[in-house]
């Protein structure tokens, strides 16, 4: 639990990875652990506060049941070019590591599309980071998070 000016700032934390198992990233990034919906697994998602939207890969979206259902179709600009897809509201959990506080479950807005590489998930600003408090300890690879 982190404090800021005497007040609780974050309540949970988890270790993040700065490279993917496959490598391929030119420089260190921040891959945090996320539990999408009620899936019984944990995934890595790249924290990218410069990205306007969070993006889950199409197989994750399909497993959550949001890829083939009705939704608000939009076209957004991504690092892979303009993509057409849907904005959906789904439950996401930022799981805390044991000994690092409590997990945070919230309803976030995520962009899903079939036109996206499988296995590449991103946490962006709108509908996700904008509503939580975050802090990083890059020397120890710890991602702290909390709610308002």
């Amino acid at each position: 639990m982190l404090h800021l000016a005497g007040e609780v700032f974050t309540k949970g934390g988890s270790r993040f990875e700065d490279t993917l198992p496959e490598g391929g990233e030119g420089s260190a990034k921040i891959f945090v652990k996320v539990i999408p919906g009620d899936l019984p697994v944990t995934i890595f998602a790249q924290l990218d506060t410069g990205a306007p939207w969070s993006i889950f890969d199409p197989e994750i979206a399909h497993a959550l049941g949001v890829l083939d259902t009705e939704g608000e179709h939009v076209r957004i600009a991504t690092r892979l070019g303009d993509k057409e897809g849907k904005l959906v509201r789904i439950r996401v959990t930022l799981p805390a590591d044991v000994g690092l506080g409590v997990s945070l479950g919230f309803e976030a807005t995520v962009f899903v599309t079939t036109d996206w590489p499988i296995g590449r998930n991103f946490i962006g600003y709108c509908g996700f980071v904008q509503g939580i408090r975050i802090a990083l300890d890059p020397q120890n690879n710890v991602f702290y998070f909390g709610s308002y």
Binding site: V41, T42, H62, V92, V98, G101, V102, G105, G119, G127
Partner: protein
């Protein structure tokens, strides 16, 4: 009203953009709409109340905005050129104006298309503002309400127990076996490989039958 006009209006800087400093009344307005838009039939139903030819006389203007007659939405400063004034309207004022019936033809405004256009241009904050205005103006339009929800900040649902652990073992395992599972999903726990499959659906099915009590880390190799 064109999409360009709305996009431009919603992205105007917050500070009033007046050619003169003499208008205190104009400070009340935060969103910018040009005089051209004020006379737009799409917004004001073709009413001529704001047309240049129907300006109030100067002696009336000098009394300030508090003396404006009921129903007149925009204070007027006689010292300013009408063609240079940009009015600013807050969300709350927009809602009030809507109740007064100023946006009589609000149903004709393609709010959804305009919001989509803003999203496409990465103007998400403006899209969020427009969604708020659209819902206030249009009532219970389910699609606009859904859009407003999508554009709103995340909603906290719960705090829960810590369920994760240090995944260094799993990531090291994945690095060591990346050539073995090209094009596959892999589920790994602190005890090693849990399951692997070509599709996530198959992987989740395998995870569910193998070790229900563990929450494995999954990864998909290119």
């Amino acid at each position: 009203m064109s999409g360009e006009n709305v996009i431009g209006a919603l992205n105007e800087p917050v500070a009033p953009r007046l050619e003169s400093t003499s208008s205190l009344s104009s400070l009340r307005y935060r969103h910018s709409i040009s005089d051209q838009r004020l006379s737009s039939p799409a917004i004001f139903g073709g009413e001529r109340a704001h047309h240049l030819s129907r300006r109030r006389p100067k002696r009336y203007m000098a009394q300030g905005p508090s003396s404006m007659p009921e129903g007149h939405p925009f204070p007027i400063d006689a010292d300013l050129s009408w063609r240079r004034i940009r009015y600013r309207i807050s969300l709350e004022e927009a809602a009030v104006h809507t109740r007064r019936g100023i946006l009589q033809h609000v149903g004709e405004i393609p709010f959804v298309a305009l919001i989509d256009a803003l999203i496409e241009r990465d103007q998400v904050k403006a899209a969020e503002h427009l969604a708020e205005i659209a819902v206030a103006a249009s009532g219970e339009n389910p699609r606009l309400i859904a859009l407003r929800e999508l554009l709103s900040p995340p909603k906290l649902l719960s705090h829960g127990p810590a369920v994760e652990q240090d995944r260094r073992f799993e990531t090291e395992w994945l690095k060591a076996h990346r050539e073995d599972y090209r094009g596959q999903w892999v589920a790994v726990s602190e005890r090693g490989l849990v399951a692997h499959a070509r599709t996530l659906g198959d992987l989740l099915a395998a995870v569910g039958t193998v070790r229900r009590l563990e929450r494995p880390l999954i990864y998909r190799f290119d």
